[in-house]
Symmetry: C2
Subunit: 489 residues, 2 copies
């Protein structure tokens, strides 16, 4: 059952990203000045269009004030200022007043990254990275990628790229340095837990296919059961999903689990195509509401529901298009298993400004088939299911080693991790007891470390690595277990 | 010697200032498109002038991009947005790109506040604040203000105002919340360095008279000595200063201390008028440098130096115009006593945008007579002098009473306070020893509290009050003592 790798890492690590940072959660519609009907279907190619708002509307007189401020700064500020800096500052300043976390200005580089996300491949080394404790950290190499081939591992910290330090860069800036054209080489300096000195690896970048649908089967109570994990809603996702669903049905599955845990969303039209495979025409699969409160329902052409039971797996990392899927299936009568989802009920459009930059702007709300707006609430599961405690731990921060008789919330976190690995720490409340010390000693002895009973950085790093590996091995995926069991209740 | 109340509290409290937001620390020149010669003299009334930049310069084509973004938001954002909001957002966004803490947009209300500062009174709590690392931070409470009486100190961070978070607000918006009519109450939640939990203080707003010059005399070695404390450089300060200096000279003073501790600055022309009383014509009292690196010297018409010795008192709360004064006097050969000053070497101008709002923009650097730029360095004293340790303590936060055998940084702070009040705690390193317990018991007995030897909230409150009173009584103003002694060395 190797399909669940990526989403599990999500839960452990909290905020991972596929190669970059966050724009990915957006759902797109079409051009804002077109009516929102057909446009739902061709959202995907809008990025490539030219500038949209060329007609100049009646500007209020006080736009002069912006010009006046601009002139003042250019002419009188103590230092010289670039036009581009002021123009981008003005746009970001206007967008900031909207106080909408999903609206943003995207410069040319960010638009490129955004498009990479929507497309079915990108060029790079093929590793998910996150910013952890200020360090760019490998979350996981993608299967068969250059990053995997060269042996990068979860929790490896990237210290330099081609000799340049990443200190002070944000995740996007760091990723921009790691990425590059297929065939080019990049040298990463890696700090690995348990290895004293940083070491360098040379990686040849390649085209990284973004697979977003993973299919497998399980036999439950003698019934062949399909599992479709969807990690993202990008260009090819609906097509891949339909193909793999057809293949499973050909195999004769008697039930299906759709797993969108940790799936941050993607393209609106893609999830719509997928819902059209399940939601019959007599019920809308979604409603779209504009700024005036006008709602429009969207229907499939499907005759009837699938003949087999389905459940949808969600967690707090399921956002946007994942929630569109989950809430529609829930209102259609299927079980939704797991934990309450993220709660993003708005639709963004990326509108090009004509010079390669774009504004990603919130333009619509989406509502469930029955008209519910889940924004900031999320989709509640019909069957709640959590993972074992160690899935919710976080990397150990031990400036000072954790030692006997100390109390710290970081110690509690470490106790949960060790317990998850099968070492009985006696308690998991943050008090470093004698039993905890014994558990640490046992762990150290089993891993050829000095059995000091203290959790220093080396021991901490090894505990983390083993927890991540255990989560990837999927032995304890209780949520999936519940979803499978619920199918035949 | 009651003149020193405010500054001492200031020192206790650490950094200083007036009624509102940092704007006060600004030094003004004249209209930016006039040459910077005569304009130095009439900086004070520029706020009342009309719009300055009516001629439109050649705008780059990419200003269209701002218009385009504006249109897009107005036409397509999910919610309706006011023009004013977007225009102000654009201006604030442009200014933010300058990354200059002294440059800001001032809306109509803020301009009013700014003018209040220059004028002789305003209504509020009486504390200068700044935006530091994204937090609204007290620079200094004004002498005898509600902010001072309630014990606010430099570097205190304001977390909430009347329960509302200040997160995301700019300085002006935050100040607007703190200010209000005389007699009204406001609750500030304060985060103080060295204190774990934020705490709340209730402050009754008042009319804050802006008296800025305090005069007194001391007899040192039989010599009549004048002391002029200057708390701010506002409209009337130069006139008041000259009158009081004349009065002291008539009394026959043989030496003078000018005390600008905790003085955040003010109007450039005002400090210039004051320096013209001391700096002879053969040496510039200041140099002003524009964005092109062109420097201009400014000279007085004074024949010669005063016939008596002078020293200037500074601390880390002495900023801007205070530093112009201190560094000029230092380079003229006088002693500067105290601690290194704040380090603000730029000049701002408040330029009206024609609708009542203004932009406060950094337009010049000021240099010392000899051409030194003290920005981010401050003026170093020729004679270093600190206050007694208890001046640097902070209110006791004792959720749990402090008791025998415990160790805590709050206990160290309390020990310094008690020692300052004359109770020997044996040590001041944070370990609550038997001697500390005895000191607490003695303090309690002397103040008709149960002599428990434990520092509960009641005992803590009384210790604090007595420390504040002692500081206000000025018995131990070692810096002033040093400044007076240095005069006749």
């Amino acid at each position: 059952m190797n399909l669940k790798k990526s989403q599990i890492v999500l839960i452990l690590v909290a905020a991972l990203v596929l190669g970059f940072a966050g724009a990915y959660a957006g759902v797109q519609l079409a051009q804002p000045d077109e009516p929102n009907t057909k446009s739902l279907a061709d959202a995907g190619d809008e990025n490539t269009k030219g500038s949209s708002n060329t007609e100049t509307s009646d500007l209020p007189a006080n736009l002069d004030k912006i010009t006046q401020a601009y002139d003042l700064i250019k002419q009188n500020y103590l230092e010289d200022v670039e036009d581009k800096q002021l123009v981008e500052g003005a746009i970001e300043g206007m967008l900031a007043t909207l106080e909408d976390p999903h609206t943003s200005y995207m410069d040319v580089e960010t638009v490129d990254q955004f498009n990479n996300q929507i497309e079915s491949s990108f060029e790079g080394i093929g590793a998910e990275v996150s910013m952890t404790n200020g360090m760019v950290t490998i979350v996981a190499p993608i299967k068969d990628s250059p990053a995997e081939k060269v042996g990068l591992r979860p929790n490896d910290q990237v210290v330099t790229v081609d000799g340049e330090s990443l200190e002070g860069l944000n995740l996007n800036e760091a990723v921009a340095k790691i990425r590059g054209e297929k065939g080019s080489e990049v040298v990463l300096e890696i700090q690995r837990a348990g290895v004293t000195e940083p070491f360098k690896v040379t990686i040849t970048r390649d085209e990284i296919p973004v697979e977003t649908v993973y299919s497998s089967t399980e036999t439950i109570d003698g019934k062949q059961t399909g599992i479709l994990e969807v990690t993202n809603f990008s260009e090819n996702t609906a097509k891949e999903f339909e193909e793999q669903l057809n293949a499973l049905e050909k195999e004769g599955i008697e039930g299906l689990v759709i797993d969108v845990r940790g799936n941050p969303g993607g393209l609106l039209n893609v999830v719509e195509e997928m819902l059209a495979l399940f939601v019959p025409e007599d019920m809308p699969y979604i409603q779209i509401e504009d700024g005036n409160g006008e709602k429009e329902e969207y229907h499939s052409q499907l005759g009837e529901k699938k003949g087999y039971p389905i459940s949808v797996l969600i967690n707090e990392g399921s956002a946007s298009a994942s929630e569109i899927l989950a809430v529609a299936m829930k209102e259609l009568g299927y079980d939704v298993v797991g934990e309450t989802s993220y709660g993003k009920g708005t639709v963004q459009q990326a509108v090009p400004l004509g010079d390669g930059s774009s504004i990603k702007l919130t333009t619509y709300k989406w509502l469930s088939p029955k008209g519910e707006w889940i924004n900031e609430k999320g989709v509640e599961p019909t069957v709640e299911a959590k993972q074992p405690d160690y899935y919710y731990t976080y990397p150990i921060e031990a400036e000072e080693p954790f030692v006997y008789d100390h109390t710290d919330e970081g110690i509690a976190n470490m106790q949960v991790m060790l317990s998850g690995l099968g070492y009985d720490t006696g308690r998991t409340d943050g008090y470093f007891s004698k039993e905890t010390e014994k558990a640490v000693e046992d762990f150290q002895a089993d891993n050829e470390l000095d059995a000091t009973g203290e959790v220093d950085q080396e021991t901490a790093g090894l505990i983390e690595t083993q927890v991540i590996e255990k989560i990837r091995d999927n032995e304890d995926d209780q949520q999936m277990g519940t979803a499978l069991d619920e199918l035949y209740q």
